[in-house]
Symmetry: C2
């Protein structure tokens, strides 16, 4: 597996673009994106578990159920959530407009082959006329190159401070196969789901149900183990389109090709998950929590997620304070059975590793050394449960800073 | 029911006191408290659900199981949690020392009749010698008056910025009966349990199991509906001692006396819960969330707790931003079934009330008026589910401010 350029445009026969249509107040910010396949594609997606679902989520779920997806149209600046029937109609008009544009430049495409994604403020009617007026320019902006990828990505960003995109290439029986992705999300992020929006493309030939299994597995071990602030959004969506342009033998479950493709997709998702955590609202450090020795992988994941989600742990990391008692406390309310008296905790960073707790109790350590370890841009909390099990998992998040409060105290105005 | 002075010393034959024994670094802060009954007492308690439990919790639970409790000895500055066998031994020595002191001044008391409570940093060995050295002074500081109550309360405070204590008096068949309480807690507070420490006294004559039922009910509707930061502490404990000094006919379940006593206790707990929310770490506003029209009371409570715990809602309240979409979002991940399309949201404060959402969608409102309503020291979010049910509940919390991060970024040092 090797890294390659171009994000969602790295796989063959995908193009992307982004323009400003005027949803965002700023005159300089793109807010409308299109990512499409030049040929029919299979698709799989994972959606938010929030009971309050954005119109885009409802419409995309409906479209996915009716077959393959050819393109994703996405806007930022407005979540199109809590917008009722008008919101659903607006999402459908977005899909129809995208279908019409793609039909003009390629073969005919039905509105049901378009996925719709929205992100931004909840509860404000979507100004769909602005989107429709921007469609010509949007289609013209599309290109099958890194610039197209970046324009689309910029157009789905909200409080994100950096672009989070990546592509990898693997070989499937001698044929190069690529997977590319872009994600946006910096707040209202919590497991089930995790990322506000994630759009992935691949030129692999793969059946729909197999693609779904690959995506579900990768999301389970990446975006679903990310927490920025404990809020599961109304708009979360990860979608993966596979157009078969690589002309490999279709990937089937239970084969080494399946394993290679799954591993590549998971690596891509984990890498992007880490980038999202690093770019968490107000974050000054990327926080990784690993748990080993739990009864099961899911138990380890629940423990790791509880620690990475704890406001008190996050505030301590922000202050580079080796307050390991809060780690034990967060393990204790994870709802997972374990023996507190066999737990060990290590902090690690660029400056080395330091053990702060063994057998559930204090061990002597240098506060100064711990502060150095915790002061870097990446901090890891390594927890050993020593319960005799082999369950291991990682979870990702960031520290809690005063800037998080500033960003979210006045988001709308 | 009327309010009365004296806190835990308001009920007859209870005394309290507090001294500085040197656990806290500050030379001016009390850190050791004693609250005791002059005669044998029944007791009931509710403990943290965290799997990592402080030594004080384990020892007090053991003592409660062996019969009545005569006194509570409590320290601040050290949680005596994650301290292993040495921590358990230290907690037992605290109980034994308190029993000895009370035995000298009243009748003989066994160590098993003493409850132990600790609050402060987790994972640091408790300097129990300091506590033992302070016992004489502690006993001498005790008095059956408001000053004794206040000294004890000061000695259990950590990051609390104000004293949270209250007493009420009711009449049971012509006899005045009093209930008094003190609580501490400003961070690491989340439902199940909620308060770090709550110590309650009453001179009511009441059987142990009846007392337990009263306390469980009151805690369920007060402290268990409080969230400051989502972290359930290792040390949470609410304890209620009843010494019968009021000489009323013992209160039995299913009687009007039981109802009156339960209502008074619940009122006391709710009042103190609100004071804790108001004093949440870094808080600038007390936030109350009420939910009406849910299927059940517990469903309404889960919805209210989800909203009051949401970092994004809390940050919006901090910025007086009427971002009601975040309220809908937090309802949606509460794990309770409801129809998003019948939900209404009102913000209310000293400056009036404003409806911001009806039928799950936006209604026009003045941003300026909303900002005024949200700018006061007390804000209420009133949610109507309109699901046809009669389940109502309130939950309490506070806004999330930059000061919370400051307080918790460097708590230990």
């Amino acid at each position: 597996m090797k890294e390659t350029a171009g994000g969602v445009c790295a796989p063959q026969d995908f193009a992307a673009g982004g323009v400003r249509c005027g949803i965002k107040a700023s005159a300089h910010k793109r807010d409308l994106a299109l990512i499409y396949s030049g040929r029919p594609a299979k698709a799989a997606a994972v959606f938010t578990t929030n009971r309050v679902k954005a119109a885009s989520v409802l419409v995309t779920r409906e479209h996915l159920a009716s077959g393959g997806i050819r393109a994703v149209i996405a806007n930022s600046g407005n979540a199109n959530a809590c917008t009722g029937e008008a919101g659903l109609a607006a999402a459908r008009r977005m899909a129809a407009a995208a279908a019409e544009q793609i039909s003009c430049s390629c073969q005919p495409v039905m509105p049901e082959q378009i996925a719709v994604a929205s992100t931004g403020v909840i509860g404000v009617p979507l100004p769909v006329e602005k989107i429709l007026a921007g469609m010509d320019g949007l289609m013209q902006s599309c290109a099958a190159d890194p610039a197209g990828n970046d324009a689309a990505l910029e157009a789905i960003m909200t409080t994100d401070t950096r672009k989070k995109t990546l592509a990898v290439e693997i070989e499937i029986r001698g044929k190069p196969v690529r997977i590319g992705g872009m994600v946006k999300g910096a707040g209202m992020i919590h497991p089930n789901m995790a990322t506000l929006l994630g759009i992935f493309t691949t030129d692999a030939a793969i059946k729909g149900p197999v693609l779904e299994a690959c995506l579900a597995g990768a999301v389970h071990r990446s975006f679903n183990r990310l927490s920025i602030d404990g809020d599961t959004s109304t708009n979360d969506m990860v979608i993966l389109m596979a157009n078969g342009a690589a002309e490999n033998n279709p990937i089937r479950e239970g084969t080494s090709e399946y394993d290679a493709f799954s591993a590549a997709l998971e690596t891509l998702c984990v890498r992007l998950t880490r980038e999202m955590a690093r770019d968490g609202e107000g974050a000054s450090r990327l926080l990784t929590v690993t748990v080993d020795g739990a009864d099961t992988e899911n138990g380890a994941a629940a423990l790791a997620r509880s620690v990475v989600s704890s406001n008190l742990v996050k505030a301590a990391v922000s202050g580079a304070d080796a307050n390991w008692g809060r780690v034990l406390c967060a393990l204790g309310y994870a709802g997972v059975s374990f023996n507190p008296e066999t737990v060990s905790v290590r902090f690690s960073g660029a400056d080395g590793e330091i053990t702060v707790c063994e057998n559930g109790g204090a061990v002597p350590f240098s506060e100064e050394a711990a502060r150095r370890v915790l002061s870097g841009p990446e901090v890891e909390i390594r927890i050993g449960i020593a319960g005799g099990g082999t369950g291991s998992a990682a979870a990702w998040g960031c520290d809690l800073t005063a800037d998080y409060v500033k960003i979210n105290g006045d988001y709308r105005t």
